[in-house]
């Protein structure tokens, strides 16, 4: 049962620098289908468009970011909702109740001059009418406790808490209204390993309790391995591979994914790690055809001319690579 679908999503940044127009193709025709009750990871290098993809899926597009084409559907009560056709108020009401967002740098997203309980109350009041102060506070406290956080943090100001704690508070806040989908953008970055573990466990706990969907964006493959059910690999604004987590780690098909997996250190293996040669392309000046071809060891002519389709090669394993069609013999030879 899918809970969010994206069709041919294209979203670019249109900038005007020193008189010249520059277009950053951050999300360059992406198709996605995310199911209920799963943790879906989106992986890729910095600057490949992951955060923009989240913003586009969340319908939080503001200039200079623009939606060029494509549609995004949420599925609520078996009904498909075209998000971009909603009014501002309808979109606002969906937020937090149906879909929640934990942004990057979640440590600085709390209003510094009000106590946390007031922040929670603001979110509650904006979506749930008619709760008295006491009811709201009790609800919040119960919610916090359930997730294993001490209730007295509600009386604190954000700056009184450590970075990791604020991160967890923000995650708990996202789960407050029991949304069907939660987006988490780099929730573990800039935290030390011990706190990272806490965050991962918190996310896992929430998903288990609520049985909802979490879309997790991070470049840290270790986090993906720990948490996700499925992973989608992004490169230069495109989805190039998508499969169950075990498949990605054990049987990746796209050359880029293979580089990605091979570069991860393995316990006990002291050999040198090889990463993909070169660097990711500028999203302003994309190479023709498949964006990975300049760095790909298997590139042939068609790779420089045409972008491969994102095809299911069996077992819900999708890849966008000419190797799948043409190249199997080429590799052999």
């Amino acid at each position: 049962m899918s809970v969010l679908t994206a069709e041919k999503l294209k979203s670019f940044y249109v900038l005007d620098i020193l008189g010249a127009e520059k277009v950053v193709k951050a999300v360059n025709e992406v198709d996605l289908e995310i199911r209920e009750n799963e943790i879906y990871g989106i992986a890729g290098e910095s600057g490949c468009g992951k955060t923009t993809l989240l913003k586009a899926l969340y319908a939080s597009i503001e200039p200079p970011l623009r939606l060029i084409s494509g549609r995004v559907f949420y599925v609520r009560d078996s009904q498909e909702i075209d998000v971009y056709s909603l009014s501002k108020e309808e979109k606002r009401r969906l937020r937090w109740e149906y879909i929640a967002y934990i942004p990057q740098g979640a440590m600085s997203v709390l209003n510094p001059v009000i106590k946390l309980k007031q922040t929670y109350r603001d979110f509650l009041d904006s979506h749930v009418a008619g709760k008295t102060k006491k009811e709201a506070f009790d609800m919040t406290r119960e919610h916090i406790n359930k997730l294993g956080l001490p209730a007295k943090i509600l009386d604190a100001y954000p700056h009184q808490l450590s970075g990791g704690m604020r991160q967890r508070v923000t995650i708990a806040l996202a789960a407050l209204l029991k949304p069907r989908i939660m987006f988490a953008d780099e929730p573990t970055t800039a935290l030390d390993v011990v706190v990272q573990r806490g965050v991962i466990q918190l996310l896992k706990g929430i998903q288990e309790i609520l049985g909802n969907t979490i879309v997790l964006v991070t470049h840290d493959m270790g986090v993906h391995a720990n948490l996700t059910d499925r992973i989608g690999i992004m490169y230069a604004g495109k989805m190039i591979e998508e499969a169950k987590t075990e498949e990605i780690f054990g049987n990746s098909l796209h050359p880029y994914t293979q580089y990605l997996i091979n570069s991860l250190p393995k316990f006990g293996d002291k050999g040198s790690r090889e990463s993909a040669p070169g660097s990711p392309p500028s999203l302003v000046d994309l190479p023709s055809g498949c964006p990975f071809h300049p760095r790909c060891p298997y590139a042939f002519d068609i790779c420089t001319e045409q972008m491969p389709e994102f095809l299911d090669v069996g077992n819900h394993h999708k890849v966008a690579c000419w190797l799948m069609k043409e190249g199997k013999d080429a590799i052999a030879s």
Binding site: D16, I17, L18, G19
Partner: protein, 285 residues
């Protein structure tokens, strides 16, 4: 440089205020052609309405209002230029020294500067003006105002110097043996100069306002025509009640235009210099 001016003119505020300011300066320059000596009284019949011989009529002291006004603007501008320039010099000196030296010198200088900012300057200037009443003329008034007008800008320049000090080229200069004075003057001044220019205009505006205000309490030299003294004479001769509108409104309207022109000039220049708004402006093209 030409490009800078061309860019500035794209801002309607700069274009408008620059033209007004030029007009006013031309008006002030007209004073050299005045057929009347501004300090004499009764060179024309009193209280005449506007006519071709007397463009704005005459006042109760028998002076032609139009020619009086040219002197008034001229003198007010002179006072403000003196006040502005001298206070810039002080501000730059204080800002550079405080920013570069740091520590105790900085704290002492900033304490004085903050003190001047916070105090009710009007009262202190009144006190001082009362004491030098006899010797009050254009230059002295300008100097008096300069003595108080540097505080805010000293702080602005100081923060600029503080950020410059951290930059790489400072270290390079020091390591290559550049003396402090030479370093500060040669390297920092180009950064500081644009700041100085926009605050100069602000300061001039303040100085003119101060001069006008001091005139109502009679602390400036009433014989020298300035916007303030002209206004004060008009009021003390009951121009309001007698309906001598040209006499009263000429200095008022001239000074309103002058203030708006100076303010818009300073805002457009400082917005032009501000790196943040510069990026926004790029997007607008």
């Amino acid at each position: 440089m030409v490009r800078v001016v061309k860019d500035l003119f794209k801002d309607y505020r700069f274009a408008f205020s620059f033209s007004i300011f030029c007009l006013l300066v031309i008006f002030a320059a007209l004073s050299t052609f005045s057929p009347y000596d501004p300090t004499f009284w009764f060179h024309a019949p009193r209280n005449l309405p506007a006519s071709w011989t007397h463009f704005l009529g005459t006042n109760s002291k028998g002076q032609d209002i139009f020619w009086q006004a040219t002197f008034a603007i001229r003198n007010s501008l002179i006072i403000s230029v003196i006040a502005g320039v001298v206070s810039r010099v002080i501000a730059v000196l204080v800002g550079l020294v405080a920013g570069y030296r740091g520590r105790t010198t900085d704290r002492v200088l900033m304490f004085i500067s903050d003190g001047l900012l916070v105090m009710p300057l009007f009262l202190i200037i009144v006190l001082l003006a009362m004491l030098v009443r006899e010797r009050m003329n254009l230059v002295n008034l300008g100097l008096l105002l300069a003595f108080f007008g540097w505080a805010w800008d000293a702080r602005v320049i100081r923060s600029q110097v503080l950020s410059l000090r951290e930059r790489e080229f400072t270290q390079t200069a020091i390591l290559s043996g550049t003396g402090t004075l030479k370093l500060v003057i040669k390297e920092y001044l180009p950064f500081v100069t644009p700041l100085v220019f926009s605050t100069l205009i602000n300061n001039m505006s303040w100085a003119i306002g101060m001069e006008i205000t001091l005139s109502i309490v009679g602390l400036t030299n009433m014989d020298i025509p300035t916007l303030g003294t002209m206004l004060q004479w008009a009021i003390s001769y009951q121009s309001l009640l007698l309906g001598l509108w040209t006499w009263l409104l000429t200095p008022v309207i001239l000074s309103i235009f002058l203030f708006i022109a100076l303010y818009w000039l300073s805002v457009s220049i400082s917005e032009y210099l501000d790196p943040r708004t510069r990026v926004q402006r790029v997007g607008e093209k």
